[in-house]
Amino acid sequence: MSVDTDRTITVTVNGVPREATVPVRRLLSDALRHDLGLTGTHVGCEHGVCGACTVLVDGDPVRSCLMLAVQVDGHAVTTVEGLARDDHRGGQVLHPVQEAFRECHALQCGFCTPGFLTTIAAGLEKRDPAAELTDEEVDDMVGGNLCRCTGYANIKKAVHHAAAAMKDDAR
């Protein structure tokens, strides 16, 4: 059994296999930003309270500051950079949640936004798009993410807006 201080890991990040050699104490949030150059993941409180660093690991939202980079070896990570889709014409189309944030003015300074986007995208993709989205469900979805400037009214509006768009897409 090897007991290591550094490790080389292979992670599928936003659909692309990436390799990095990291000290075992490297947090996933720091590995994404510093080792892989994906600075879309923002680092706020660094102890799991604010939600700014939320990414998807194998499709589920997790705090990237509460995981070690070595723990995602062999897994798939989606960051905010991976939400937009290829439009097959050389460009990208925003994820419905990103589109809704723009439409509803759900971001102001933008610091907390990557964590909200990943959390909400996964939350909406996991539910039945035909089922009515209740305010309570939205509160539960975004309640673990702190926003201190935009305010939650427009963020919650954007969640409903995105859900409606995804419902239309599913038809």
């Binding site: 490790r7 104490r25 947090l27 799991g48 939600g51 997790v62 723990q71 309640g143 673990g144």
Partner: protein
């Protein structure tokens, strides 16, 4: 805020995990979900020499439900336990309490058993283990052993487990017949650590009279405790029981601390309020079962 340097191993079997823990000595620490441990490392409140990550160990991620109770494996995430309808039928406190554990993104990663092994008095599942009279199974180099909840919790973030040991599962006994449960918390923000939380079990006799009332609290006291509140309402018909009297009794039994989040007096007040509220809810559930018999 970064963890101090440590060494890391991710064994593929329980035997390997125990071997590494033995070889690395007292400074080694087991890593499961890490949702409580990693903040401690980042804030340098803990600096283990070695982390032994058990996430690759097979066979630890199942919830087993029998008529006797629910056994939760060490790698079962809170999210999985929350979604387990069979477990909720046998012991409803599991889902009710788990819904109060942190936020969804943390529940996706954090484990129920890890939360118990962490022994934080503000943890929900430590209280539920106590209230249900549960126990944990611990793997050690000399074989597995069972540790009852009363023998497990020594102090805040401290258990009686020493030397190489991995808590492999927790067992929560089934809810007794003619019983109802409830769980409620007061927190600054839903999902944050509770200022105070309460879990209760109310058991009725065949004539819908109160037979037994027990409660356990979150963020109250240094280790989880179970308080018997039966004497305040014993023998009373369920529909006319004085739950405020049970709440008043609870206030005299607890010994909360003052900290940055709340004073001891405020916590004691919350114990009374939450006890009264949850008992009424649990009693109504129990009454519906007796009526349905």
């Amino acid at each position: 805020m970064k963890p101090a340097p440590f060494r890391y191993a991710d064994p593929g079997t329980l035997d390997e995990a125990l071997a590494v823990l033995s070889a690395e000595g007292e400074g080694a620490k087991v890593l499961a979900g890490g949702q409580s441990l990693l903040p401690l490392l980042s804030m340098r409140l803990a600096a283990p020499t070695t982390l032994v990550d058990i996430n690759r160990v097979p066979g630890l991620d199942s919830v087993e439900v029998t008529g006797n109770g629910v056994t939760v494996g060490a790698l079962v995430r809170h999210t999985a336990l929350l979604a387990d309808d069979a477990a909720a039928r046998v012991q409803p406190l599991l889902a009710r309490a788990t819904a109060n554990v942190a936020h969804p993104a943390i529940r996706n990663r954090g484990t129920t058993v890890g939360s118990i092994a962490h022994a934080d008095p503000s943890g929900e599942m430590t209280s539920v283990l106590a209230l249900t009279d549960g126990a944990v199974t611990v793997a050690t180099p000399s074989g597995p052993r069972t540790v009852e909840w009363r023998d497990l919790f020594v102090g805040p973030l401290e258990t009686s487990l020493h030397g190489p040991a991995v808590v492999t599962s927790a067992f929560f006994p089934a809810l007794p017949d003619r019983s109802g449960t409830a769980f409620a918390e007061v927190a600054r923000r839903k999902g944050d650590y509770a200022v105070c939380g309460a879990g209760v079990v109310v058991t009725l006799d065949e004539d819908r009279r109160i037979a037994r009332v027990r409660a356990s609290y979150v963020s109250v006291g240094l280790t989880p405790e179970v308080h018997d509140l039966t004497e305040a309402v014993a023998g009373k018909p369920v529909d006319s029981a004085d739950w405020a009297a049970a709440g008043a009794l609870a206030r005299t039994l607890v010994d909360p601390d003052t900290d940055i989040h709340a004073s001891a007096d405020y916590r004691r007040l919350l114990v009374g309020v939450l006890t009264e509220r949850t008992l009424a809810e649990a009693a109504a559930e129990a009454a519906a079962k007796v009526t349905g018999e």
